[in-house]
Symmetry: C2
Subunit: 415 residues, 2 copies
């Protein structure tokens, strides 16, 4: 039997046991893992160093090496996050609805774990702790498939997790790492409907696309964001500039950062130069259409590809539009259904934007950067879903649950 | 461009328009379709007759012909169902949650349509009206892919729907039928992630399996039910027999009918003969394990396959078990996560059953036949989901919706 099949079967076998663990049993596991991460910090760092050395030999870029690198402070952050998760409400067992039928049946809908979660992710070893802890808190078993570049770090972290779990009531097969990181194994995971209830890809656009297009297991699609800020005719100048700069530059590498700014022509005539200047002061490269370049000639020329690109960098595309309708059309054509903002003092335009833009999160007079489980107040984040089924937008712990109906009768039969 | 691609693009193009149609506009469309179905009854029946004739020539079984056949009373039922749907609450626009953040952001989660629904179904032409009307009410566009055996009926019904929609504010491309019913077209639908938001298969186990195993579009999996009734040691004799007979015989061809009865050995020693007799009186063929046959020697011998079979007929498998734990193990091994019942007067066994059986609906002292959108009080039913993501159990109108977050600010940026 392949490693994947063996581990998937083990995971499936304990799902019902995990589903009935108490909140306190699960929290105790989170506390022990937190403790153990600190105790074994040196061991994890030594193993991580092996990955870093191999990465350097293989010519990984500095930014990839940075994602791969663990430090004392990063491990401390991971340990702290585990303790924060302890304080969050356990969604399992929550009663979502309860009602009686005329025939006397009492119906109750309660939250239950999904079962087995398959996690496919790239370099960052912190995802190993993050995914494991979120799954543990929600009573799910998890199969982790990280990248080969992080294999030593991931093995060390999972060993530490297993040592911690050995001191608790949670079986160690609740968290399993695939040591075989071949593409073939990932492809086999895509079709393992019998054992895996959901696949969650975490990483770049290529990884996510590959999972979505090949998996027959339900996927929680996260991560890709080609987000827009639309500055309407009546937008307050200062606010529009402040929000555009924040959405683009506060953290350019993340999915809720702005990639294209759309500007109403009247507003552009009055204030576009100032907007361009403010962005350039922050080191942003601007790629504009013809009209933008008429007002700001030092701006580069945008290509058709730029409208559809998630730059994840200090680059922004910029276009002048005639009205909110053109802005909406542009967003619905090129956007990724993630986060879209309108800056405006015209209520009917805001309403139109809210109604006609198809995206997980829509903003009026605020930065797209707020699309985030913590910023929304969820206290944890599985990811930001850009799909429409199951969960959309920032996903908190309930996104890792399903429900069952409990029906109590006194001998009712159907007529 | 293929018919499929052309129609999928048309559907996608009108999703935002459909999303903002008012409840009254959508209800008017439902009323007009209802009216038109009655007016054009003769035309539909004539076209249906062509399918019936062709079916006879092709040697379709009497039960398949029955599913294919439309009658005046069946069309009247379809028209009546449309008017019942008018009275149901429109889920689109419903505010699911609303809260303020410490930074002053006001967040609201509202229901929106899914977008484009792909419906793949077998012989029954009534699904054409059913799926179209549920999608219309929830602001979704639908692409219908029925079977070739019902093509004349389906074309006639969709023509009637289009004539009705022409009198309303709903564009006719909200409902489109694929006239090409080849397997290739269905396979192409499985991969049309760019245009279709969800696929819903309606039909036999083979069809559903094929869609689930091949579609990369999210699927709402419905329909297959290998359901059990477990009679515990303390079960009331009359109640246990009444519920078993009801769950098996009241409508054996549906997914929530019981396929295996598990009986506690103590109860079996006292009452099994009576249970067997009651079932046999209703014409049920019983296939029992060794212990059942020791008590009731005229019962046939069960094969291993019988435990996993959805008979959909007056056949039931029967097994004697030692306790509730063995019953739970059996159900979790062979069941299809649909509907499972325990008949018992021992609260801790009921609790154990509720906790450890993994299924969409669990019953205590009631028939499995109640797993149904109408019996649950939802007023409509898209199907009964046996998957864990998005929706589980009987699905009402909200299962055809997604959500979006609407965030209102006053210039907030992220620090």
């Amino acid at each position: 039997m392949s490693e994947l099949l063996e581990k998937a079967k083990k995971a499936k076998a304990i799902t019902r046991e995990l589903a009935v663990k108490t909140t306190e049993q699960k929290n105790e596991a989170l506390r022990k893992i937190s403790e153990q991460l600190i105790k074994q910090m040196d061991y994890i760092l030594t193993e991580n160093e092996k990955d870093i050395e191999a990465g350097k030999k293989n010519g990984l870029s500095e930014s990839l090496l940075d994602r791969l690198r663990l430090t004392k402070s990063r491990i401390q952050d991971m340990a702290d996050a585990l303790l924060q998760l302890v304080d969050l409400k356990d969604p399992v067992g929550e009663v979502l609805a309860e009602w009686d039928r005329p025939n006397g049946l009492k119906i109750k809908q309660v939250r239950v774990p999904l079962g087995v979660v398959g996690m496919i992710y790239e370099a960052r070893p912190n995802v190993t702790v993050d995914a494991s802890s979120l799954c543990l808190k929600t009573g799910n078993a998890v199969i982790l498939r990280g990248s080969s570049s992080a294999i030593n770090s991931n093995k060390a972290i999972v060993q530490v997790i297993h040592e911690a779990l050995a001191q608790t009531d949670i079986p160690s097969s609740a968290v399993q790492l695939l040591e075989d990181t071949s593409r073939e194994t990932a492809s086999q995971m895509f079709k393992l409907n019998e054992y895996l209830d959901v696949l969650i890809p975490r990483g770049g656009a290529g990884l996510i696309k590959s999972v979505v297009e090949n998996s027959t297991i339900p996927v929680l699609e996260t991560g890709v964001g080609n987000c827009h800020v639309y500055i309407d005719e009546t937008a307050d100048k200062e606010m529009a500039i402040k929000i555009s700069v924040n959405a683009k530059t506060q953290r350019p590498s993340v999915c809720n950062a702005c990639e294209t700014i759309l500007v109403h022509s009247e507003w552009a005539n009055k204030h576009l130069s100032e907007l361009v200047e403010a962005l350039q002061e922050k080191g942003v490269e601007i790629r504009g259409d013809q009209k933008v370049r008429e007002i700001a000639p030092d701006v580069l020329e945008a290509s058709e590809d730029d409208w559809g690109t998630e730059f994840l960098d200090l680059i922004v595309a910029m276009k002048v539009v005639d009205d909110v309708t053109e802005a909406i059309e542009h967003i619905n054509t090129y956007g990724s259904l993630h986060s879209e903002a309108i800056i405006s003092e015209t209520p009917e335009n805001v309403e139109k934007f809210f109604n006609y833009v198809d995206a997980a999160a829509l903003y009026h007079n605020a930065s797209t950067r707020f699309t985030d489980g913590f910023e929304f107040g969820f206290g944890a984040e599985i990811g930001i879903s850009t799909q429409k089924l199951h969960a959309r937008g920032p996903m908190g712990l309930p996104a890792l649950t399903s429900t069952k109906y409990i029906v109590k009768g006194t001998g009712q039969i159907r007529n």
